[in-house]
Amino acid sequence: MDRTDTLPPDIELARLLQRCAASDTAAFRSLYDKTSPILFARLLRMLRRRSVAEEVLQDVFVRIWQRASQFEAHRGHALAWMVTIARYCAIDLMRRERMTLVSDDAIAEIPDETAQDATGFEKPDNFDHCIGKLNDNTRKCLTLAFVEGRSHDEIARLTTNPLGSVKSWIRRGLLSLKECLSTARQTT
């Protein structure tokens, strides 16, 4: 594998995706080598079971290959596009199977968050300001849902809050975030 510790610039991944769209299998292998460790870590974080994450990772790359022609380089970032496919594959499985948290020994495998910005995801302008304005409960709910793929029921159980509160915090939190980000965009 030719993975280096830092990912290549997004533009290189976008070029590889374009070559995948033209059925270039060598480009696909290169894309896999460069991005599979990031996507695998992301899937482990959500699915927690290694064997399941390995299976879903296969489906993710099958989709990436099949949908490479739909990636629009001018409209988005290649890695973000691939991570979104991975998140949706994991969420589909978790919702379909109603997968819940597993025992603690399996959780030991969850990849750590690093201070180092290895992946370079682009945050919208003023994101930190806007997420900081939400109350702690709301922020916790949104993070559990987005980062770990937890359902409303699971979040209620994990945070020992009533389901109704969790649902309304999430709904209102999303609205506040949208409003704050659009205001921030207009004033900058």
Partner: protein, 222 residues
């Protein structure tokens, strides 16, 4: 879009991207994703919530994962391999002399056949297109066919006088491109109809349809 609808779509789009819709609501919402307006709303939410994306320490997956992907996509059978520039020139000169036809072949093969898998004229679930000399299929989701938990929809060629041959699993959103094997191409060449059956997740374990046949449709020349 009416403003009340827009609000509902926006709320559902946000929870679709966040991941908190239940399975059936997720599938139903994906039906709306065919609309470019809804697609744009989802994309806006994907960009907003990307700020929550964690920076994780990468973890190398085991080598079996790549082998699995190679097998699923039959990558070794794909002939259009990348070539370096000088090789391309050399090869093109050679082929130009040997098989002039090669050059006239467009990069994306043309659509040569279509089939609409539908319950009735109003309810088309999938549109299947055959590309080129049956080298590839594209499957487009028109309407989402309900899928019970732990099940999958599988597409079959129904060759005359022979057993059904699997053409792979059906997508539930967007479209899917399938590169066909020689056996699948032969089966399709002898088929006037294709069908979708309900199978266990991952597809029929036996290689033949095991569940009920849900839809059968004629295969028409384009």
């Amino acid at each position: 879009m009416k403003s009340a609808n827009r609000e509902l779509v926006d709320r559902l789009a946000a929870e679709y991207v966040l991941g908190t819709l239940r399975y059936r609501a997720r599938r139903r919402f994906e039906r709306w994703l065919l609309s470019p307006q809804v697609g744009a709303i989802v994309k806006a939410w994907e960009e907003r919530l990307a700020g929550l994306e964690p920076n994780l320490t990468p973890v190398d997956p085991p080598a079996e994962v790549w082998r699995g992907i190679e097998n699923k996509l039959e990558l070794r059978k794909i002939r259009r391999r990348p070539v370096t520039r000088w090789m391309a020139i050399a090869a093109s000169l050679l082929f130009f002399v040997a098989v002039g036809v090669f050059f006239t072949r467009p990069v994306a093969p043309p659509i040569t056949g279509t089939s609409l898998l539908a319950a009735d004229a109003q309810t088309i679930y999938w549109r299947v297109e055959v590309l080129g000399d049956r080298e590839e299929l594209t499957v487009h989701v028109q309407n989402v066919y309900d899928l019970p938990q732990g099940k999958a929809h599988e597409l079959w060629a129904l060759p005359e006088g022979g057993a059904p041959v699997s053409l792979g699993l059906m997508p539930h959103m967007g479209d899917r491109r399938v590169v066909l094997t020689a056996a699948q191409r032969t089966a399709l060449a002898n088929s006037k109809q294709i069908a979708v059956s309900l199978e266990p997740e991952g597809g029929s374990p036996t290689g033949a349809p095991t569940g009920p046949v849900l839809l059968v449709a004629p295969l028409a020349k384009a």
